[in-house]
Amino acid sequence: MATLTITNLQVSVEDKPILKGVNLEIKEGEIHALMGPNGSGKSTLAYALAGHPKYEITGGTIEIDGTNVTELDANERARLGMFLAFQYPVTIPGVRVADFLRHAVTNRRDPERKEGENLMPMREFRKELKERMAELGMDTEFARRYLNDGFSGGEKKRMEILQMAMLQPKFAILDETDSGLDSDAVKVVSEGVNRLSGPEMGVLIITHHERLLEFNKPQFTHVMLAGKIVETGDAGLAAELHANGYATIRERHPEAAAEQSSEQEESLASV
């Protein structure tokens, strides 16, 4: 069974330590929720897992099925089945969704593919893309548009899920995919995630809201504070946090809470 194992992960951004020893194991078929106040390090974990060069891993390891991927480039990790739905998807003018995605899907399905080698057949790709778009209620016109260029916030998030559907990752990290969506869109996206997160895929859902978790009930909920996972529970923990906020968590972890708030002041002061 495919497993993503994160051991004592420490990450710095521009020499500033953000993650201070994160441990987490996600297996195929599992849904994990990751919660925590703003600035606690959730996106940092997501970027570090995906292999962003600015997020320097200063200690610990990331393994996929026992293979240490800590030193691998983002694209090598993607080919091994890592996927990140971005909190803030990037706009790339002039690059058409279909062209980019055909390239990406080919590399994912044939991880040994070298630059310049053939792409998957156009027809097959188009057919599949159309089907996935229909499932997500997207107009096929989006395939011809430039990637996220002029897309509304909700459209960008849907585009992330479409890419996930096409790439069929083993492990998907959804970083606030539900924020900025109207309630209809949350439903479509939630159903989309639900459809994909079968036994073949493990999911880490980063969220501040309930809806996505209602459709995709997590087996595990983790709470991050000051760059560490301070608590792990089941779906009940997520419900509790939604009802009561982070006050009780802070009370239970006063040291981390103090660290978190001092860091926040620091980063505000530096603005």
Binding site: A50, P53, D73, N75, G94, F100, E115
Partner: protein, 471 residues
Amino acid sequence: MSTETPSKTDPSLGDYQYGFHDSTDNYVFKSRKGLDEEIVRQISGIKNEPQWMLDFRLNALEIFFSRPSPQWGADVDQIDFQDIYYYMKASDKQEKSWDDVPEDIRKTYDRLGIPEAEKQYLAGVKAQYDSEVVYGSLQEDLEKQGVLFTDTDSALREYPEIFREYFGTIIPSADNKFAALNSAVWSGGSFIYVPPGVHIDFPLQAYFRINSENMGQFERTLIIVDEGASAHYVEGCTAPSWTEESLHSAVVEIVVKRGGRFRYTTIQNWANNVYNLVTKRAMAYGDSLMEWVDGNLGSKITMKYPAIYLMEPGARGETLSIAFANNGQHQDAGAKMVHCAPNTSSRVVSKSISKGGGRAGYRGLAKVVKGAHNCKSSVVCDALILDPESRSDTYPYIEVEEDDVTMEHEASVSKIAEEQLFYLMSRGLTEAEASAMIVTGFIEPLVKELPMEYAVEMNKLIELQMEGSVG
């Protein structure tokens, strides 16, 4: 006879695809190195020119010597003007069939794909090899309609009246130091005349090839598009990757008369040891449209700011410019739009890319003279910097002497595409694939304006520039 002697070419120039060269042993004529009155007289003498042209050249030579090199833009002080061959003639005449072109030279153009392109989609071709045009063709029906497409030397001999009426009037020798240099030693280039109302549907293509080391190529192009006529001219340029530098300094003069339309497309892909210092200017008359599409990929230094003077009401000018500066290159490119009449409009779209320590800049002028009411001018320039070692600059100059003018100027803050790169790589694209895709996307709005064949070529050249970019 040897071809493609690799010995003296510079290995540091990497995998520039057109870096091969032919032997110069069989050249019909080579001037000695250096520039003085004797050389100028020699060039004029070989060409059997009328006295007025010799006088014109000598006058320009004086201007050239009296002017300092420009101290703005790129660094051109490194050029040793006495270490250059000013005239090199590889073949003694211009041919109408590729079969008659000397084998070495023909092979070069074969490798560049010119004869093939000619068969498929060109209305006419000129191939210049060092100082002279070695091949020329024009579709028969165009010839019958009175279209003239010759090298500029032949035009001086065969069409002296129209030639003299325009030559040097759009860009006088005194315009700038390099225009003066070209005026003194010019050789080759294209002369085009399109009679009133004639439309040329397929592009006319000129291909400029520098073959010799330390060569100076100084083609001179003069194009007249008469009333209501239309045409599209395309030039391509390559050179071997010599260790010693070469100099390319062209002058291009264009007149588009009332209601005419003309587009001038350049795909400049000189080897990275060529100084490319070019003066290009068009005069656009009433209700005409002049367009420059300017792609600069190669050369060591390029300084080029194609200009359009909008002379009468209703004239429109458009410049689309792409510059790509890679390691060791400085592309100082741009556009000038001068509104000399009311109700004229201009648009400049410039995209520059710098990579591997290269430097690309936009330098532009939008000018509205007194009395030119109701003009519209828009300038948009975007820069893409692919790594922290590279650099991009924007120097927009605006001079407006009227109030009722619509001026738009947008310059997007140069951005390092790091986040875009990561996004694409996180989807499984390699760094090279991702950056090629970003760059192709960045210039897409301009490339899609090109005819298919040139769009394909442009994308291919960009991909070549991006290859091995993984750092």
